[in-house]
Symmetry: C2
């Protein structure tokens, strides 16, 4: 969420409270939630802090259909031309013109992790998930650089499609 | 839906109205809808007619989590030991003790189609879906016999995970 949207939805100078730290260093889910409203319905969303340059909402396609928002697959950060929505916070609402994406599945790696795997940021790899819903995800984009840490990130549709559960392992296929 | 559950939810002698025919010969989605209730919420469901031996509810895992029902992966028809739920129709409600499944992805084939592909009912195959969310689904079970017709069946989680849209093609990998 951008500083500007944070002010509109939560008021000037508001500071988010940490709910829990997430996989990427320094990032956290907030205790605060907002609502996103589309043409067909609304959903509650949790925010990932700290504030960023642009507001971006990552949804599973299942949730896009429920909200009446066209699912548009994008690498995180590439929000130009994506659908908008109405965001509702405790102190106000804001109609954003773009920013709703279905995130392309990706593999975060710290620079030394990428180096030891001989992978470069932006490269596409495949990941095999074993189990009763075994599958191979192609088109997994490597995202590496300062502030990244090893984490394979799927949305809920993808997690469910491969039968993800705590402890499940993936195998990197170059 | 079983005849017995149909009577409980819609009244004795009720006949479902056809909304549209579905892929398997003689089967249709009904105009009528019911509600399914779990510990966390409820959802509307459409029925596939005609009535069957046992009531079975096929849900995507996303919807299981929303309803508060444990997702249990099963081949269609194998409902023993699966979670139950409350079903609500216009004339009554019924608490079923089992019957909610996440359907194992499957490939329906008519007997002559299976024969020409050298596949047997029960065999596991893989299906590759191309496009921006390209992936290979393993553990696709072949279901063949009288009354089956070629159709590759995924749930909404799986469809979204592979970027399904009308016209998308899959490649059978044995």
């Amino acid at each position: 969420m951008s500083q500007r949207d944070s002010q509109r939805l939560f008021g000037k100078g508001y500071k988010f409270k940490i709910f829990k730290m997430v996989s990427q260093p320094g990032q956290f889910a907030t205790q605060e939630e907002i609502k996103i409203q589309g043409s067909r319905g609304e959903l509650k969303l949790r925010i990932v802090g700290p504030v960023r340059q642009d507001t971006q909402i990552e949804l599973a396609a299942t949730d896009c259909y429920k909200l009446g928002i066209k699912p548009v697959l994008r690498v995180s950060g590439k929000v130009k031309g994506t659908p908008g929505a109405v965001l509702i916070g405790p102190k106000g609402r804001n109609k954003i013109k773009q920013g709703v994406i279905v995130a392309q599945r990706h593999l975060h790696l710290a620079p030394n992790e990428a180096k030891s795997l001989k992978l470069k940021s932006g490269q596409l790899v495949s990941v095999k998930i074993k189990g009763p819903r075994e599958l191979i995800f192609d088109n997994v984009i490597v995202r590496s650089g300062a502030g990244h840490k090893k984490s394979f990130q799927l949305d809920t549709d993808e997690g469910n499609a491969c039968g993800w559960m705590p402890g499940i392992k993936g195998e990197l296929i170059k």
